[in-house]
């Protein structure tokens, strides 16, 4: 209930005029560029692991030539968007929650209100915009890196024919799949941002440092769980015919 109220306020703040530009740019850079090293490292290993695991599974019933299909479908449709969202929930979301909770317990939010500045407009709206716009880009980036890693592992380590692999990926992955991945990115980005801002904003002054820890913890867990559950519904909606 309280969460819905927060969502309504944040929504109004988000769409009543453009967000403060400097804040938006700062958060967008932090969320986007700041996540790149972590996301690159994780996607490379997840992509390679996807290939290795799929090979191990398929070789048991002689289907190792279908690796391209599996890596295309499993990776681009499902794994990389969710991974980008969960990683960003753990990094960006936790940072958002910690910084907002910190402002809340050191009374900076109240100070803003006293100065007749709407904290929703100044603090929450730019963060929401930054993460919502950056996560789809990160998803697209993860798609490319992950697919390259899968390709590398499949051809170099498993000895699958590279031409067959790419042909299968081209067969099964259409432009609409990439678009669906980006759409998932937008949804997850907004969700991660709103959940993290909510938990950060709700921190109480009397809890002190503990409140910051609790807010961070809840932001990470809730955004990860919500993204994974929502992914199931989005996939059912987009792909089941």
């Amino acid at each position: 209930m309280e969460f819905l109220h927060f969502v309504r306020r944040a929504f109004v703040a988000q769409f009543s005029g453009p967000p403060p530009r400097d804040e938006f740019v700062r958060h967008a850079l932090d969320a986007g560029v700041g996540s790149l090293p972590l996301l690159t490292l994780l996607t490379i290993f997840a992509g390679m692991n996807l290939s290795v695991q799929a090979y191990g599974t398929f070789v048991r019933f002689g289907g190792q030539d279908l690796l391209g299909l599996f890596c295309g479908v499993g990776g681009i449709r499902e794994l990389y968007p969710v991974m980008a969202a969960v990683i960003c929930g753990a990094r960006i979301g936790a940072t958002l929650a910690a910084s907002l909770a910190n402002m809340q317990i050191s009374e900076q939010v109240e100070a803003l209100e006293v100065m007749a500045v709407d904290p929703m407009r100044l603090l929450v709206a730019p963060r929401l915009w930054a993460v919502t716009l950056m996560l789809p880009l990160l998803c697209g980036y993860a798609d490319v890196v992950g697919l390259a890693a899968s390709y590398y592992a499949a051809t170099e380590q498993m000895g699958v024919n590279g031409g067959t692999f790419m042909e299968q990926v081209r067969d099964i992955v259409h432009l609409s799949d990439l678009a669906a991945g980006v759409f998932k990115g937008v949804v997850f980005g907004w969700l991660v941002a709103i959940v993290s801002c909510y938990h950060g904003y709700r921190a109480l002054k009397r809890d002190g440092a503990e409140g910051v820890g609790v807010a961070t913890n809840r932001a990470i867990v809730h955004s990860a769980v919500l993204c994974i559950v929502l992914n199931m519904f989005l996939s059912a909606l987009l792909y089941v015919r």
Partner: protein, 253 residues
């Protein structure tokens, strides 16, 4: 640049030292069993719902995408083999550990960080209670034991949600689903999964304790410790997972 690498080196050295202290506390007494049980109870209750909610959709998604994929080759009956292998070997251990890292790791780090910031860790030391022994080791043991237990639960949940989306939703035959379910899974897969969980649980407990004890500054430091614990453990889990998969594949298990 130089100061950064010096700081990095210092952190590595501190971690090795921390590791030695933890090892010493593990082999020698006194042991705080009651505290360990309390933390275990807390972790199970805190992690049960997030871990379950995170893994059940994965089984469902594998079924959704896999059914379409296998239907192209008329090999729908193989879907359950894929589901079982993927869940037993890969997703149940990895995802359970990632969620334990997210929930338990960050809350342990935040709790230890809060104690450190408030000076409670120093107070323990003054009372000649070793903080590592009293605060870190129970969390570590709890993580090592709880993660495999949760993984068993998530395996079941993943299979059930996979069945639900394959049989009633996608129209795969119930009989062939069950018949092929365990065709590709051996007992080794189960042990490998549980072993991975114990290893990842150890990593969660160690990193959370280490970063929690190193918290400096005020409330910001607590948030940073919780955040760093989660990102570092997830990196470690995914990287280690890849090497374990490669090792198993080359061993031909």
């Amino acid at each position: 640049m130089l100061s950064r690498s010096v700081r990095w080196f210092e952190a590595c050295a501190a971690f090795v030292e921390f590791l030695c202290v933890v090892l010493r506390c593990l082999v020698t007494g006194p042991r705080y069993l009651r505290e360990t049980l309390r933390v275990m109870d807390l972790l199970v209750r805190r992690c049960l719902i997030p871990v379950g909610l995170a893994v059940a959709p994965v089984g469902a998604v594998i079924s959704l995408q896999g059914a379409g994929l296998f239907r192209m080759f008329g090999a729908e009956s193989l879907l359950s083999s894929l589901l079982a292998t993927a869940i037993f070997r890969e997703y149940s251990p990895a995802l359970a550990s990632v969620m334990v890292a997210a929930q338990a790791g960050s809350s342990i780090a935040a709790r230890i960080g809060t104690m450190k910031v408030r000076g409670q860790i120093d107070a323990l030391a003054v009372m000649s209670v070793d903080p590592v022994r009293y605060v870190v080791v129970p969390g570590l043991i709890a993580c090592v034991i709880v993660t495999p237990l949760l993984s068993v639960l998530t395996t079941l949940l993943g299979l059930v949600s996979g069945w639900f989306f394959a049989v009633p939703v996608m129209g795969v035959d119930h009989g062939s689903f069950l018949a092929n379910l365990y065709a590709q899974v051996s007992l080794v897969d189960l042990w490998v999964g549980l072993g991975k969980c114990m290893a990842f649980g150890t990593a969660v407990g160690l990193i959370a304790g280490f970063l929690g004890l190193r918290t400096t500054g005020g409330a910001t430091g607590v948030g940073k410790a919780a955040n760093d614990t989660v990102t570092m453990t997830i990196v470690l889990i995914l990287v280690a997972d890849y090497f374990v998969s490669m090792l198993l594949l080359s061993l031909g298990v």
